[in-house]
């Protein structure tokens, strides 16, 4: 029985029965895809099982790879209204046989409606800079020389939420080579759009008085890498009978 189980798990690309430490929330897009494919499986046998139509690429595996990085400096750090985060996506979860079709970074911003000053919930502009880390640096050394800018963009945050997607397929393909994945650094800088309320707030120099941290927060953000790959051994074309 153990051998049979191991064979099946191996075909799923798993070395052993997974023991999830936390049951992460399933992204809504994955639920939608699962429900759609399950319905279609019952309806017809003529669809292409090796195409992920949501992303318009070939594949039979969709992963939401978790960010294993850490926050370098938070919103309430020395730089007011900015944040720096190190991101790491473990690409070794892909089996060598898999062909990478897409790696798309998704960063979702969400305001905490209960702990954020109402005036900050207005329109916000967010400067986003994303760097590829080229090599490891020693403690105390300058990190700037060891990273390359991948993206610099301004994002208009909606009153309650916002998101940013970025195609990182070429980069992720390189990360699959041993010793090439040093991760990414994300820098965010918040620029409140001037409204009468914010102007009054700023003119009274109250912005520094916002008790950022445990009582009031700036937008929370969550990054994940959507990875679509194709295992050609498990993707036979279906012949019309």
């Amino acid at each position: 029985l153990k051998t049979q189980e191991r064979l099946f798990l191996n075909s799923l690309g798993l070395s052993a029965r997974p023991k999830p430490s936390t049951h992460r929330r399933v992204p809504s897009v994955l639920w939608r895809m699962f429900k759609r494919t399950s319905t279609r499986e019952n309806d017809t046998h003529e669809r292409d099982p090796c195409m992920v139509s949501e992303y318009g690429v070939r594949g039979n595996i969709v992963r939401f790879v978790q960010d294993q990085g850490r926050l370098v400096s938070g919103w309430s750090g020395s730089c007011h209204g900015c944040v720096e985060k190190y991101m790491f996506f473990n690409m070794s979860v892909l089996q060598p046989v898999e062909q990478l079709s897409l790696a798309q970074l998704e960063i979702k911003f969400q305001w905490d409606m209960f702990r954020t000053p109402r005036f900050l919930l207005g329109p916000q502009a967010l400067s986003v800079s994303l760097y590829k880390v080229l090599r490891a640096t020693l403690r105390g050394a300058s990190h700037e020389a060891h990273r390359r800018l991948v993206l610099s963009q301004s994002v208009q945050l909606e009153p309650e939420a916002g998101s940013l997607t970025l195609d990182l397929t070429a980069l992720a393909q390189n990360w699959r080579k041993p010793g090439h994945n040093y991760g990414l650094v994300l820098e965010l800088q918040l620029h409140p759009v001037h409204t009468q309320a914010t102007d009054i707030f700023m003119s009274q120099n109250l912005v520094n008085a916002i008790p950022l941290g445990p009582t009031v927060t700036l937008p929370e953000f969550h990054a994940s890498l959507v990875v679509v790959s194709l295992n050609p051994l498990q993707c036979r074309s279906r012949q019309r009978r």
């Binding site: 189980e5 799923l12 690309g13 798993l14 070395s15 052993a16 029965r17 997974p18 023991k19 999830p20 430490s21 936390t22 049951h23 992460r24 399933v26 992204p27 994955l30 639920w31 895809m33 699962f34 494919t37 399950s38 499986e41 046998h45 099982p49 090796c50 039979n60 595996i61 969709v62 992963r63 939401f64 790879v65 978790q66 473990n90 979860v93 498990q234 993707c235 036979r236 009978r241």
Partner: protein
């Protein structure tokens, strides 16, 4: 001469209903969805003469012929899946990532000899 035992329609080769529940094999912790699925299985005899409905291969037709002549020396052909369909599975991998994977050959749709 060979002795032919009557084969009733209920025990000829055909798909039988089998619902696999992942909880029964202790996989409910890491498989998010589905909780189970209708996998089915093939069971039944492939009697001489093989009718068209039994989807026999040429090899099976000849094997039943030889079996009818020498029942002890050659067994009857086996009842096996000839058409399978896929299932999508949503699960956690060893790194707590959520994975949607499309799996072929998971459900028996049709059996043959």
């Amino acid at each position: 001469s060979a002795v032919y035992l009557p084969v009733t329609p209920s025990n000829v080769c055909k798909p039988r209903r089998l619902y696999i529940e992942f909880k029964d094999v202790g996989w409910q912790d890491w498989i998010i969805a589905p909780q189970g699925y209708l996998a089915n299985y093939c069971h039944g005899e492939c009697p001489f003469p093989l009718s068209e409905s039994l989807n026999g291969t040429n090899h099976a037709i000849l094997q039943t012929l030889v079996h009818s002549l020498d029942p002890h020396g050659t067994p009857q052909p086996c009842c096996v899946p000839i058409r399978l369909s896929p299932v999508s599975m949503l699960y956690y991998d060893n790194n707590d990532n959520v994975v949607l994977r499309h799996y072929q050959d998971m459900v028996v749709d049709e059996c043959g000899c």
